[in-house]
Symmetry: C2
Protein backbone atom coordinates (compact mmCIF):
# COMPACT_ATOMS: atom_id res chain seq x y z
CA UNK A 1 0.00 0.00 0.00
CA UNK A 2 1.49 3.34 -1.05
CA UNK A 3 0.17 6.53 0.60
CA UNK A 4 -0.84 9.40 -1.70
CA UNK A 5 2.07 11.49 -2.99
CA UNK A 6 0.41 14.80 -1.99
CA UNK A 7 0.33 13.68 1.64
CA UNK A 8 3.94 12.50 1.60
CA UNK A 9 5.03 15.81 0.01
CA UNK A 10 3.11 17.75 2.66
CA UNK A 11 4.78 15.83 5.50
CA UNK A 12 8.25 16.22 3.94
CA UNK A 13 7.82 19.89 3.07
CA UNK A 14 6.42 21.29 6.32
CA UNK A 15 8.28 21.66 9.61
CA UNK A 16 5.76 21.60 12.42
CA UNK A 17 2.55 19.69 13.02
CA UNK A 18 -0.22 19.40 15.56
CA UNK A 19 -1.34 15.78 15.55
CA UNK A 20 -4.86 15.47 16.94
CA UNK A 21 -6.65 12.28 17.97
CA UNK A 22 -10.39 11.95 18.42
CA UNK A 23 -12.12 12.36 21.78
CA UNK A 24 -12.47 9.23 23.94
CA UNK A 25 -9.32 7.97 22.23
CA UNK A 26 -8.81 4.25 21.65
CA UNK A 27 -5.66 2.28 20.94
CA UNK A 28 -5.80 2.95 17.21
CA UNK A 29 -6.04 6.73 17.66
CA UNK A 30 -3.36 6.91 20.37
CA UNK A 31 -0.91 4.43 18.84
CA UNK A 32 -1.24 5.95 15.38
CA UNK A 33 -0.72 9.51 16.60
CA UNK A 34 2.27 8.56 18.74
CA UNK A 35 4.02 6.58 16.00
CA UNK A 36 3.41 9.33 13.45
CA UNK A 37 4.83 11.89 15.85
CA UNK A 38 7.95 9.78 16.45
CA UNK A 39 8.46 9.27 12.73
CA UNK A 40 8.12 12.96 11.88
CA UNK A 41 10.60 13.85 14.61
CA UNK A 42 13.08 11.43 13.01
CA UNK A 43 12.82 13.75 10.00
CA UNK A 44 13.63 16.74 12.21
CA UNK A 45 10.06 18.02 12.40
CA UNK A 46 8.38 19.40 15.51
CA UNK A 47 5.09 17.85 16.60
CA UNK A 48 2.48 18.50 19.27
CA UNK A 49 0.14 15.66 20.26
CA UNK A 50 -3.33 16.86 21.21
CA UNK A 51 -6.39 15.09 22.53
CA UNK A 52 -9.41 16.47 24.35
CA UNK A 53 -9.33 13.61 26.85
CA UNK A 54 -6.36 12.33 28.78
CA UNK A 55 -4.88 8.94 27.89
CA UNK A 56 -6.98 6.17 29.55
CA UNK A 57 -5.23 4.20 32.25
CA UNK A 58 -4.99 0.94 30.28
CA UNK A 59 -3.03 2.74 27.55
CA UNK A 60 -0.41 4.17 29.89
CA UNK A 61 2.04 1.50 28.69
CA UNK A 62 2.25 3.06 25.21
CA UNK A 63 5.75 4.46 24.65
CA UNK A 64 5.58 8.25 24.62
CA UNK A 65 2.01 8.47 25.98
CA UNK A 66 3.14 11.24 28.38
CA UNK A 67 3.68 13.54 25.41
CA UNK A 68 -0.07 13.78 24.80
CA UNK A 69 -1.52 17.13 25.89
CA UNK A 70 -5.13 17.93 26.52
CA UNK A 71 -6.02 21.39 25.22
CA UNK A 72 -5.99 22.72 28.75
CA UNK A 73 -2.56 21.35 29.67
CA UNK A 74 -1.13 22.56 26.35
CA UNK A 75 -2.33 26.09 27.08
CA UNK A 76 -1.57 26.10 30.80
CA UNK A 77 1.93 24.70 30.34
CA UNK A 78 2.76 27.55 28.03
CA UNK A 79 3.28 25.60 24.84
CA UNK A 80 3.24 28.04 21.94
CA UNK A 81 0.52 26.22 20.04
CA UNK A 82 0.57 28.84 17.28
CA UNK A 83 4.10 27.83 16.37
CA UNK A 84 2.82 24.53 15.05
CA UNK A 85 1.82 25.50 11.55
CA UNK A 86 -0.05 22.44 10.33
CA UNK A 87 -2.78 20.16 11.64
CA UNK A 88 -3.10 16.40 11.10
CA UNK A 89 -6.26 14.59 12.17
CA UNK A 90 -5.58 10.95 12.93
CA UNK A 91 -8.24 8.20 13.07
CA UNK A 92 -10.97 10.78 12.47
CA UNK A 93 -11.86 13.06 9.60
CA UNK A 94 -13.55 16.14 10.94
CA UNK A 95 -12.73 18.72 13.60
CA UNK A 96 -15.92 17.86 15.46
CA UNK A 97 -14.61 14.37 16.33
CA UNK A 98 -11.63 15.90 18.13
CA UNK A 99 -14.01 17.62 20.54
CA UNK A 100 -12.14 20.95 20.13
CA UNK A 101 -14.37 23.84 21.07
CA UNK A 102 -14.40 27.25 19.42
CA UNK A 103 -12.31 28.71 22.21
CA UNK A 104 -9.64 26.10 21.48
CA UNK A 105 -9.90 26.43 17.73
CA UNK A 106 -9.21 30.13 18.15
CA UNK A 107 -5.75 29.18 19.38
CA UNK A 108 -4.97 27.21 16.25
CA UNK A 109 -3.62 29.17 13.34
CA UNK A 110 -2.63 26.28 11.11
CA UNK A 111 -2.00 27.03 7.46
CA UNK A 112 -2.81 23.57 6.12
CA UNK A 113 -4.47 20.39 7.33
CA UNK A 114 -4.26 16.69 6.61
CA UNK A 115 -6.55 13.76 7.43
CA UNK A 116 -5.36 10.16 7.90
CA UNK A 117 -8.28 7.90 8.68
CA UNK A 118 -9.95 4.60 7.92
CA UNK A 119 -13.50 5.54 8.83
CA UNK A 120 -16.05 5.98 6.10
CA UNK A 121 -16.68 9.60 5.46
CA UNK A 122 -18.39 12.21 3.37
CA UNK A 123 -16.64 15.00 5.21
CA UNK A 124 -14.99 17.90 3.42
CA UNK A 125 -12.32 18.77 5.96
CA UNK A 126 -8.63 18.52 5.07
CA UNK A 127 -6.27 19.90 2.42
CA UNK A 128 -4.41 16.61 2.15
CA UNK A 129 -6.67 13.65 2.70
CA UNK A 130 -6.02 9.94 2.93
CA UNK A 131 -9.20 8.17 3.93
CA UNK A 132 -9.14 4.40 3.35
CA UNK A 133 -12.17 2.59 4.80
CA UNK A 134 -10.86 -0.77 3.50
CA UNK A 135 -7.85 -0.66 5.79
CA UNK A 136 -8.44 -2.34 9.16
CA UNK A 137 -6.72 0.28 11.33
CA UNK A 138 -5.30 3.77 11.00
CA UNK A 139 -2.17 2.21 12.50
CA UNK A 140 -1.70 0.27 9.25
CA UNK A 141 -1.81 3.53 7.30
CA UNK A 142 0.78 5.11 9.59
CA UNK A 143 3.00 2.04 9.08
CA UNK A 144 2.77 2.45 5.31
CA UNK A 145 3.51 6.17 5.67
CA UNK A 146 6.59 5.53 7.80
CA UNK A 147 7.90 3.03 5.26
CA UNK A 148 7.17 5.40 2.36
CA UNK A 149 9.06 8.16 4.16
CA UNK A 150 12.07 5.83 4.37
CA UNK A 151 12.15 5.81 8.17
CA UNK A 152 13.19 2.70 10.15
CA UNK A 153 10.44 1.49 12.48
CA UNK A 154 11.76 1.68 16.06
CA UNK A 155 10.63 -0.56 18.89
CA UNK A 156 8.64 2.35 20.35
CA UNK A 157 6.82 2.95 17.07
CA UNK A 158 6.23 -0.79 16.69
CA UNK A 159 4.55 -1.14 20.11
CA UNK A 160 2.27 1.80 19.35
CA UNK A 161 1.31 0.50 15.92
CA UNK A 162 0.87 -3.12 17.04
CA UNK A 163 -1.50 -1.88 19.75
CA UNK A 164 -3.42 0.11 17.13
CA UNK A 165 -3.73 -3.03 15.01
CA UNK A 166 -4.93 -5.40 17.67
CA UNK A 167 -7.40 -2.94 19.18
CA UNK A 168 -9.11 -2.40 15.82
CA UNK A 169 -9.05 -6.06 14.74
CA UNK A 170 -10.08 -7.49 18.14
CA UNK A 171 -6.69 -9.18 18.42
CA UNK A 172 -7.01 -10.56 14.87
CA UNK A 173 -10.50 -11.95 15.47
CA UNK A 174 -12.65 -9.53 13.48
CA UNK A 175 -13.61 -9.89 9.84
CA UNK A 176 -11.16 -7.11 8.91
CA UNK A 177 -8.18 -9.38 9.72
CA UNK A 178 -6.77 -9.45 6.20
CA UNK A 179 -3.47 -11.02 5.10
CA UNK A 180 -2.05 -7.45 5.01
CA UNK A 181 -2.92 -6.95 8.69
CA UNK A 182 -0.94 -10.07 9.61
CA UNK A 183 1.97 -9.10 7.36
CA UNK A 184 2.22 -5.71 9.06
CA UNK A 185 1.82 -7.36 12.50
CA UNK A 186 4.74 -9.65 11.62
CA UNK A 187 6.90 -6.68 10.59
CA UNK A 188 6.06 -4.83 13.81
CA UNK A 189 6.89 -7.91 15.90
CA UNK A 190 10.15 -8.19 14.00
CA UNK A 191 10.78 -4.51 14.85
CA UNK A 192 10.42 -5.27 18.56
CA UNK A 193 6.73 -5.25 19.53
CA UNK A 194 6.16 -8.16 21.99
CA UNK A 195 2.63 -9.55 21.31
CA UNK A 196 2.26 -11.33 24.66
CA UNK A 197 3.22 -8.29 26.74
CA UNK A 198 0.98 -5.95 24.78
CA UNK A 199 -1.87 -8.42 25.16
CA UNK A 200 -1.26 -8.56 28.90
CA UNK A 201 -1.30 -4.76 29.23
CA UNK A 202 -4.51 -4.45 27.23
CA UNK A 203 -6.53 -7.44 28.37
CA UNK A 204 -5.13 -8.72 31.65
CA UNK A 205 -5.04 -5.62 33.78
CA UNK A 206 -8.49 -5.75 35.37
CA UNK A 207 -8.85 -4.59 38.95
CA UNK A 208 -10.50 -6.95 41.42
CA UNK A 209 -13.45 -4.53 41.49
CA UNK A 210 -13.86 -4.82 37.73
CA UNK A 211 -13.78 -8.62 38.01
CA UNK A 212 -16.48 -8.54 40.68
CA UNK A 213 -18.56 -6.17 38.58
CA UNK A 214 -18.26 -8.65 35.71
CA UNK A 215 -19.55 -11.48 37.91
CA UNK A 216 -22.47 -9.34 39.10
CA UNK A 217 -23.32 -8.52 35.49
CA UNK A 218 -23.21 -12.17 34.40
CA UNK A 219 -25.55 -13.08 37.23
CA UNK A 220 -28.21 -10.77 35.73
CA UNK A 221 -28.25 -12.46 32.34
CA UNK A 222 -31.57 -13.23 30.68
CA UNK A 223 -31.57 -15.33 27.54
CA UNK A 224 -34.54 -15.46 25.20
CA UNK A 225 -34.75 -16.51 21.54
CA UNK A 226 -31.09 -15.86 20.78
CA UNK A 227 -31.08 -12.54 22.65
CA UNK A 228 -28.94 -12.10 25.78
CA UNK A 229 -29.58 -9.11 28.07
CA UNK A 230 -27.31 -8.20 30.97
CA UNK A 231 -27.80 -5.33 33.39
CA UNK A 232 -25.57 -3.10 35.49
CA UNK A 233 -27.07 -0.92 38.20
CA UNK A 234 -25.54 2.10 39.89
CA UNK A 235 -25.47 0.10 43.09
CA UNK A 236 -23.17 -2.48 41.43
CA UNK A 237 -20.66 0.25 40.61
CA UNK A 238 -20.80 1.43 44.22
CA UNK A 239 -20.42 -2.08 45.64
CA UNK A 240 -17.33 -2.76 43.52
CA UNK A 241 -15.78 0.75 43.48
CA UNK A 242 -15.93 0.83 39.70
CA UNK A 243 -17.22 3.18 37.00
CA UNK A 244 -18.72 2.88 33.50
CA UNK A 245 -15.13 2.89 32.14
CA UNK A 246 -14.74 -0.56 33.67
CA UNK A 247 -17.47 -2.08 31.49
CA UNK A 248 -15.48 -2.06 28.21
CA UNK A 249 -16.09 -5.26 26.22
CA UNK A 250 -18.62 -6.61 28.76
CA UNK A 251 -21.53 -6.22 26.36
CA UNK A 252 -20.21 -8.72 23.85
CA UNK A 253 -19.18 -11.48 26.27
CA UNK A 254 -22.45 -13.49 26.00
CA UNK A 255 -21.58 -13.91 22.31
CA UNK A 256 -19.30 -16.80 23.36
CA UNK A 257 -22.58 -18.74 23.20
CA UNK A 258 -23.25 -20.12 19.76
CA UNK A 259 -26.97 -19.37 19.82
CA UNK A 260 -26.70 -15.70 20.82
CA UNK A 261 -27.46 -13.48 17.85
CA UNK A 262 -27.88 -10.21 19.74
CA UNK A 263 -26.23 -9.19 23.02
CA UNK A 264 -27.49 -6.18 24.97
CA UNK A 265 -26.08 -4.46 28.04
CA UNK A 266 -28.40 -2.13 29.96
CA UNK A 267 -26.54 0.26 32.21
CA UNK A 268 -28.46 2.33 34.75
CA UNK A 269 -27.60 6.01 34.37
CA UNK A 270 -30.16 7.24 36.90
CA UNK A 271 -33.51 6.06 38.09
CA UNK A 272 -35.58 4.84 35.13
CA UNK A 273 -32.88 5.93 32.71
CA UNK A 274 -30.76 3.27 30.98
CA UNK A 275 -28.00 3.33 28.41
CA UNK A 276 -28.33 0.33 26.11
CA UNK A 277 -25.37 -1.10 24.19
CA UNK A 278 -26.20 -3.57 21.44
CA UNK A 279 -24.02 -6.07 19.58
CA UNK A 280 -24.94 -8.50 16.82
CA UNK A 281 -23.32 -10.85 14.39
CA UNK A 282 -23.91 -11.10 10.70
CA UNK A 283 -27.09 -9.81 9.14
CA UNK A 284 -28.96 -8.41 12.15
CA UNK A 285 -28.73 -4.62 12.07
CA UNK A 286 -28.65 -3.29 15.64
CA UNK A 287 -28.20 0.31 14.41
CA UNK A 288 -31.84 0.10 13.22
CA UNK A 289 -32.93 -1.05 16.67
CA UNK A 290 -30.96 1.72 18.37
CA UNK A 291 -32.42 4.27 15.94
CA UNK A 292 -35.95 3.26 16.93
CA UNK A 293 -35.03 4.47 20.44
CA UNK A 294 -33.36 7.64 19.17
CA UNK A 295 -29.82 6.26 19.17
CA UNK A 296 -27.52 4.99 16.43
CA UNK A 297 -24.28 3.30 15.50
CA UNK A 298 -23.04 0.62 13.15
CA UNK A 299 -24.76 -2.51 11.86
CA UNK A 300 -23.20 -4.81 14.47
CA UNK A 301 -22.55 -2.32 17.29
CA UNK A 302 -24.93 0.42 18.36
CA UNK A 303 -26.35 2.22 21.38
CA UNK A 304 -29.26 4.27 22.67
CA UNK A 305 -30.81 5.70 25.82
CA UNK A 306 -34.11 4.43 27.19
CA UNK A 307 -36.11 6.30 29.80
CA UNK A 308 -38.17 3.57 31.44
CA UNK A 309 -38.04 1.11 34.29
CA UNK A 310 -35.83 -1.92 33.71
CA UNK A 311 -38.63 -4.36 32.86
CA UNK A 312 -40.16 -1.99 30.32
CA UNK A 313 -36.75 -1.27 28.82
CA UNK A 314 -35.96 -4.98 28.46
CA UNK A 315 -39.35 -5.80 26.98
CA UNK A 316 -39.16 -2.90 24.51
CA UNK A 317 -35.70 -3.93 23.33
CA UNK A 318 -36.66 -7.58 22.93
CA UNK A 319 -39.71 -6.59 20.89
CA UNK A 320 -37.60 -4.44 18.54
CA UNK A 321 -34.88 -7.07 18.19
CA UNK A 322 -37.43 -9.73 17.29
CA UNK A 323 -38.95 -7.44 14.67
CA UNK A 324 -35.50 -6.83 13.20
CA UNK A 325 -34.76 -10.58 13.23
CA UNK A 326 -37.97 -11.28 11.33
CA UNK A 327 -37.11 -8.66 8.73
CA UNK A 328 -33.50 -9.91 8.37
CA UNK B 1 12.63 -22.59 7.61
CA UNK B 2 13.62 -25.59 5.49
CA UNK B 3 12.66 -29.09 6.68
CA UNK B 4 15.41 -31.73 6.80
CA UNK B 5 16.24 -33.33 3.43
CA UNK B 6 15.98 -36.87 4.80
CA UNK B 7 12.35 -36.26 5.80
CA UNK B 8 11.46 -34.70 2.44
CA UNK B 9 13.10 -37.62 0.62
CA UNK B 10 11.17 -40.09 2.77
CA UNK B 11 7.84 -38.39 2.00
CA UNK B 12 8.61 -38.21 -1.73
CA UNK B 13 9.92 -41.75 -1.99
CA UNK B 14 7.24 -43.71 -0.14
CA UNK B 15 3.68 -44.32 -1.31
CA UNK B 16 1.53 -44.91 1.75
CA UNK B 17 1.46 -43.44 5.24
CA UNK B 18 -0.40 -43.80 8.48
CA UNK B 19 -0.52 -40.33 10.04
CA UNK B 20 -1.11 -40.61 13.79
CA UNK B 21 -2.06 -37.77 16.16
CA UNK B 22 -1.69 -37.91 19.93
CA UNK B 23 -4.52 -38.96 22.24
CA UNK B 24 -6.85 -36.20 23.47
CA UNK B 25 -6.02 -34.37 20.24
CA UNK B 26 -5.96 -30.57 20.11
CA UNK B 27 -6.19 -28.20 17.17
CA UNK B 28 -2.48 -28.39 16.44
CA UNK B 29 -2.45 -32.21 16.27
CA UNK B 30 -5.66 -32.43 14.21
CA UNK B 31 -4.99 -29.52 11.86
CA UNK B 32 -1.40 -30.61 11.24
CA UNK B 33 -2.33 -34.22 10.51
CA UNK B 34 -5.19 -33.23 8.19
CA UNK B 35 -3.12 -30.73 6.19
CA UNK B 36 -0.23 -33.19 5.87
CA UNK B 37 -2.60 -35.88 4.66
CA UNK B 38 -4.12 -33.54 2.05
CA UNK B 39 -0.67 -32.49 0.86
CA UNK B 40 0.61 -36.05 0.50
CA UNK B 41 -2.50 -37.02 -1.44
CA UNK B 42 -1.76 -34.17 -3.87
CA UNK B 43 1.46 -36.08 -4.56
CA UNK B 44 -0.56 -39.24 -5.28
CA UNK B 45 0.21 -40.91 -1.95
CA UNK B 46 -2.29 -42.87 0.14
CA UNK B 47 -2.78 -41.82 3.76
CA UNK B 48 -4.71 -43.10 6.76
CA UNK B 49 -5.44 -40.69 9.61
CA UNK B 50 -5.45 -42.37 13.00
CA UNK B 51 -6.23 -41.11 16.49
CA UNK B 52 -7.18 -43.06 19.59
CA UNK B 53 -9.91 -40.54 20.44
CA UNK B 54 -12.59 -39.21 18.15
CA UNK B 55 -12.41 -35.59 16.99
CA UNK B 56 -13.82 -33.30 19.75
CA UNK B 57 -17.03 -31.53 18.88
CA UNK B 58 -15.52 -28.04 18.67
CA UNK B 59 -13.13 -29.22 15.95
CA UNK B 60 -15.83 -30.67 13.71
CA UNK B 61 -15.49 -27.63 11.44
CA UNK B 62 -12.02 -28.68 10.31
CA UNK B 63 -12.10 -29.61 6.61
CA UNK B 64 -11.65 -33.37 6.26
CA UNK B 65 -12.14 -34.15 9.98
CA UNK B 66 -14.43 -37.07 9.01
CA UNK B 67 -11.43 -38.88 7.54
CA UNK B 68 -9.98 -39.45 11.01
CA UNK B 69 -10.36 -43.04 12.19
CA UNK B 70 -10.09 -44.32 15.71
CA UNK B 71 -8.26 -47.64 15.83
CA UNK B 72 -11.57 -49.41 16.35
CA UNK B 73 -13.35 -47.79 13.41
CA UNK B 74 -10.34 -48.39 11.18
CA UNK B 75 -10.41 -52.10 11.99
CA UNK B 76 -14.18 -52.53 12.04
CA UNK B 77 -14.68 -50.69 8.73
CA UNK B 78 -12.34 -53.15 7.06
CA UNK B 79 -9.55 -50.74 6.16
CA UNK B 80 -6.46 -52.77 5.29
CA UNK B 81 -4.21 -51.00 7.77
CA UNK B 82 -1.30 -53.22 6.81
CA UNK B 83 -1.28 -51.73 3.32
CA UNK B 84 -0.06 -48.44 4.73
CA UNK B 85 3.65 -49.07 4.86
CA UNK B 86 4.94 -46.09 6.83
CA UNK B 87 4.03 -44.29 10.04
CA UNK B 88 4.24 -40.56 10.73
CA UNK B 89 3.72 -39.26 14.25
CA UNK B 90 2.45 -35.68 14.25
CA UNK B 91 2.62 -33.27 17.22
CA UNK B 92 4.10 -36.03 19.41
CA UNK B 93 7.29 -38.01 19.34
CA UNK B 94 6.69 -41.41 20.85
CA UNK B 95 4.21 -44.21 20.26
CA UNK B 96 3.02 -43.96 23.86
CA UNK B 97 1.53 -40.49 23.25
CA UNK B 98 -0.72 -41.89 20.53
CA UNK B 99 -2.34 -44.18 23.08
CA UNK B 100 -2.02 -47.18 20.76
CA UNK B 101 -2.14 -50.40 22.71
CA UNK B 102 -0.16 -53.53 21.94
CA UNK B 103 -3.20 -55.13 20.32
CA UNK B 104 -3.37 -52.18 17.92
CA UNK B 105 0.36 -52.03 17.33
CA UNK B 106 0.20 -55.68 16.28
CA UNK B 107 -1.87 -54.54 13.29
CA UNK B 108 0.77 -52.10 12.13
CA UNK B 109 3.50 -53.49 9.98
CA UNK B 110 5.15 -50.24 8.95
CA UNK B 111 8.63 -50.45 7.49
CA UNK B 112 9.74 -46.95 8.47
CA UNK B 113 8.60 -44.16 10.75
CA UNK B 114 8.87 -40.37 10.89
CA UNK B 115 8.29 -37.84 13.65
CA UNK B 116 7.19 -34.23 13.08
CA UNK B 117 6.86 -32.42 16.39
CA UNK B 118 7.63 -29.23 18.28
CA UNK B 119 7.65 -30.67 21.79
CA UNK B 120 10.92 -31.04 23.61
CA UNK B 121 12.05 -34.59 23.59
CA UNK B 122 14.72 -37.08 24.48
CA UNK B 123 12.82 -39.86 22.80
CA UNK B 124 14.49 -42.31 20.43
CA UNK B 125 11.51 -43.21 18.26
CA UNK B 126 11.53 -42.47 14.53
CA UNK B 127 13.71 -43.22 11.52
CA UNK B 128 13.22 -39.74 10.10
CA UNK B 129 12.87 -37.13 12.81
CA UNK B 130 12.15 -33.43 12.72
CA UNK B 131 11.69 -32.15 16.24
CA UNK B 132 11.85 -28.35 16.58
CA UNK B 133 10.96 -27.07 20.06
CA UNK B 134 11.58 -23.46 18.95
CA UNK B 135 8.67 -23.55 16.52
CA UNK B 136 5.37 -22.40 18.02
CA UNK B 137 3.15 -25.07 16.47
CA UNK B 138 3.52 -28.31 14.55
CA UNK B 139 1.21 -26.65 12.02
CA UNK B 140 4.04 -24.24 11.17
CA UNK B 141 6.31 -27.22 10.41
CA UNK B 142 3.67 -28.79 8.16
CA UNK B 143 3.34 -25.47 6.33
CA UNK B 144 7.10 -25.39 5.70
CA UNK B 145 6.95 -29.04 4.57
CA UNK B 146 4.14 -28.35 2.11
CA UNK B 147 6.05 -25.41 0.64
CA UNK B 148 9.27 -27.44 0.43
CA UNK B 149 7.38 -30.20 -1.39
CA UNK B 150 6.27 -27.62 -3.95
CA UNK B 151 2.55 -28.09 -3.23
CA UNK B 152 0.07 -25.18 -3.41
CA UNK B 153 -1.68 -24.58 -0.09
CA UNK B 154 -5.43 -25.11 -0.64
CA UNK B 155 -8.15 -23.38 1.36
CA UNK B 156 -8.80 -26.66 3.20
CA UNK B 157 -5.16 -27.02 4.20
CA UNK B 158 -5.05 -23.33 5.19
CA UNK B 159 -8.02 -23.62 7.57
CA UNK B 160 -6.47 -26.66 9.24
CA UNK B 161 -3.07 -25.02 9.62
CA UNK B 162 -4.43 -21.65 10.76
CA UNK B 163 -6.40 -23.49 13.46
CA UNK B 164 -3.22 -25.32 14.51
CA UNK B 165 -1.42 -21.98 14.77
CA UNK B 166 -3.99 -20.12 16.83
CA UNK B 167 -4.63 -22.99 19.20
CA UNK B 168 -0.95 -23.28 20.08
CA UNK B 169 -0.30 -19.53 20.28
CA UNK B 170 -3.51 -18.66 22.17
CA UNK B 171 -4.72 -16.67 19.18
CA UNK B 172 -1.35 -14.86 18.93
CA UNK B 173 -1.30 -13.96 22.62
CA UNK B 174 1.36 -16.32 23.97
CA UNK B 175 5.07 -15.58 24.18
CA UNK B 176 5.71 -17.94 21.25
CA UNK B 177 4.02 -15.49 18.83
CA UNK B 178 7.10 -14.80 16.72
CA UNK B 179 7.26 -12.77 13.52
CA UNK B 180 7.41 -16.11 11.65
CA UNK B 181 4.09 -17.18 13.20
CA UNK B 182 2.43 -14.03 11.88
CA UNK B 183 4.07 -14.37 8.46
CA UNK B 184 2.71 -17.91 8.13
CA UNK B 185 -0.69 -16.78 9.44
CA UNK B 186 -0.73 -14.10 6.73
CA UNK B 187 0.09 -16.66 4.04
CA UNK B 188 -2.65 -18.99 5.30
CA UNK B 189 -5.18 -16.14 5.33
CA UNK B 190 -4.12 -15.27 1.78
CA UNK B 191 -4.69 -18.95 0.88
CA UNK B 192 -8.28 -18.73 2.10
CA UNK B 193 -8.37 -19.25 5.88
CA UNK B 194 -10.94 -16.78 7.34
CA UNK B 195 -9.64 -15.69 10.80
CA UNK B 196 -13.00 -14.43 12.10
CA UNK B 197 -14.90 -17.59 11.19
CA UNK B 198 -12.25 -19.89 12.65
CA UNK B 199 -12.25 -17.80 15.82
CA UNK B 200 -16.02 -18.10 16.02
CA UNK B 201 -15.93 -21.89 15.64
CA UNK B 202 -13.25 -22.26 18.27
CA UNK B 203 -14.22 -19.68 20.86
CA UNK B 204 -17.82 -18.67 20.35
CA UNK B 205 -19.59 -21.99 20.29
CA UNK B 206 -20.40 -22.41 23.98
CA UNK B 207 -23.68 -24.05 24.92
CA UNK B 208 -25.97 -22.19 27.32
CA UNK B 209 -25.14 -24.89 29.88
CA UNK B 210 -21.44 -24.17 29.58
CA UNK B 211 -22.12 -20.45 30.03
CA UNK B 212 -24.14 -21.14 33.18
CA UNK B 213 -21.40 -23.43 34.47
CA UNK B 214 -18.93 -20.59 33.92
CA UNK B 215 -21.08 -18.20 35.98
CA UNK B 216 -21.38 -20.77 38.79
CA UNK B 217 -17.62 -21.20 38.77
CA UNK B 218 -16.98 -17.44 38.92
CA UNK B 219 -19.31 -17.15 41.87
CA UNK B 220 -17.04 -19.50 43.86
CA UNK B 221 -13.91 -17.39 43.44
CA UNK B 222 -11.67 -16.77 46.44
CA UNK B 223 -8.84 -14.29 46.06
CA UNK B 224 -5.95 -14.15 48.50
CA UNK B 225 -2.46 -12.69 48.10
CA UNK B 226 -2.43 -12.87 44.32
CA UNK B 227 -3.92 -16.37 44.26
CA UNK B 228 -7.36 -17.00 42.75
CA UNK B 229 -9.14 -20.29 43.44
CA UNK B 230 -12.34 -21.33 41.71
CA UNK B 231 -14.29 -24.54 42.31
CA UNK B 232 -16.58 -26.78 40.27
CA UNK B 233 -18.66 -29.42 42.00
CA UNK B 234 -20.32 -32.47 40.46
CA UNK B 235 -23.65 -30.90 41.28
CA UNK B 236 -22.81 -27.91 39.05
CA UNK B 237 -22.26 -30.23 36.11
CA UNK B 238 -25.61 -31.88 36.81
CA UNK B 239 -27.43 -28.56 37.17
CA UNK B 240 -26.10 -27.30 33.84
CA UNK B 241 -26.04 -30.60 31.88
CA UNK B 242 -22.32 -30.21 31.26
CA UNK B 243 -19.19 -32.32 31.68
CA UNK B 244 -15.51 -31.71 32.47
CA UNK B 245 -14.94 -31.20 28.70
CA UNK B 246 -16.88 -27.95 29.08
CA UNK B 247 -14.33 -26.44 31.47
CA UNK B 248 -11.57 -25.87 28.89
CA UNK B 249 -9.81 -22.52 29.48
CA UNK B 250 -11.89 -21.76 32.60
CA UNK B 251 -8.89 -22.12 34.93
CA UNK B 252 -6.99 -19.19 33.45
CA UNK B 253 -9.85 -16.69 33.27
CA UNK B 254 -9.09 -14.99 36.64
CA UNK B 255 -5.73 -14.02 35.13
CA UNK B 256 -7.54 -11.09 33.48
CA UNK B 257 -6.88 -9.47 36.87
CA UNK B 258 -3.53 -7.74 37.00
CA UNK B 259 -2.73 -8.86 40.53
CA UNK B 260 -3.38 -12.58 40.03
CA UNK B 261 -0.11 -14.48 39.90
CA UNK B 262 -1.52 -17.99 40.28
CA UNK B 263 -4.96 -19.24 39.21
CA UNK B 264 -6.27 -22.58 40.43
CA UNK B 265 -9.37 -24.52 39.46
CA UNK B 266 -10.51 -27.30 41.80
CA UNK B 267 -12.85 -29.77 40.16
CA UNK B 268 -14.69 -32.32 42.26
CA UNK B 269 -14.11 -35.83 40.89
CA UNK B 270 -15.91 -37.63 43.71
CA UNK B 271 -16.50 -36.96 47.40
CA UNK B 272 -13.31 -35.57 48.96
CA UNK B 273 -11.40 -36.06 45.72
CA UNK B 274 -10.46 -33.02 43.63
CA UNK B 275 -8.54 -32.46 40.43
CA UNK B 276 -6.53 -29.23 40.67
CA UNK B 277 -5.44 -27.29 37.58
CA UNK B 278 -2.84 -24.57 38.16
CA UNK B 279 -1.76 -21.66 35.97
CA UNK B 280 0.86 -19.00 36.62
CA UNK B 281 2.64 -16.20 34.83
CA UNK B 282 6.33 -15.55 34.69
CA UNK B 283 8.66 -16.94 37.33
CA UNK B 284 6.27 -18.88 39.57
CA UNK B 285 6.68 -22.59 38.88
CA UNK B 286 3.34 -24.35 39.35
CA UNK B 287 4.80 -27.69 38.23
CA UNK B 288 6.70 -27.72 41.55
CA UNK B 289 3.47 -27.12 43.44
CA UNK B 290 1.68 -29.88 41.54
CA UNK B 291 4.62 -32.23 42.15
CA UNK B 292 4.31 -31.70 45.90
CA UNK B 293 0.81 -33.24 45.55
CA UNK B 294 2.02 -36.06 43.30
CA UNK B 295 1.12 -34.34 40.02
CA UNK B 296 3.18 -32.53 37.39
CA UNK B 297 3.22 -30.42 34.25
CA UNK B 298 4.96 -27.35 32.92
CA UNK B 299 6.27 -24.28 34.70
CA UNK B 300 3.16 -22.18 34.00
CA UNK B 301 0.53 -24.92 33.62
CA UNK B 302 0.28 -28.01 35.81
CA UNK B 303 -2.17 -30.30 37.57
CA UNK B 304 -2.59 -32.79 40.40
CA UNK B 305 -5.18 -34.75 42.34
CA UNK B 306 -5.94 -34.00 45.99
CA UNK B 307 -7.87 -36.38 48.22
CA UNK B 308 -9.31 -34.11 50.90
CA UNK B 309 -12.35 -32.03 51.63
CA UNK B 310 -12.58 -28.75 49.77
CA UNK B 311 -11.41 -26.50 52.62
CA UNK B 312 -8.36 -28.67 53.33
CA UNK B 313 -7.55 -28.86 49.60
CA UNK B 314 -7.75 -25.05 49.23
CA UNK B 315 -5.68 -24.40 52.33
CA UNK B 316 -3.02 -26.91 51.29
CA UNK B 317 -2.71 -25.41 47.84
CA UNK B 318 -2.50 -21.85 49.13
CA UNK B 319 0.24 -22.87 51.57
CA UNK B 320 2.29 -24.50 48.79
CA UNK B 321 1.79 -21.57 46.41
CA UNK B 322 2.93 -19.10 49.03
CA UNK B 323 6.04 -21.18 49.69
CA UNK B 324 6.79 -21.24 45.96
CA UNK B 325 6.21 -17.47 45.74
CA UNK B 326 8.67 -16.86 48.55
CA UNK B 327 11.28 -19.04 46.87
CA UNK B 328 10.71 -17.43 43.45
Amino acid sequence: MIPPAHLLDFLKREDSFIIAAHLSPDGDALGSALALSMALEKLGKRTLLLCRDSVPEHYLFLPGYERFCTFDTAVSSGIAIQEFRNLILVDCNEIKRTGMERSVLAYLTFQASAVIDHHETEKEFGDFKWVAPDIAATGMMIYYLIKALGIAVTKEMAINLYTALIVDTGNFRFENTSPEVLVVAAALTEAGAPPHLIHRELNESWSEGRFKLFIKLLNTIRIEDGIAITTITKRMFEETSTSPDDTESFVSFPQVMKKIRVAILLREVSENDYKASLRSRGAINVARIAESFGGGGHKNAAGCNIKADIETARAGLIRQVKEQMNEG
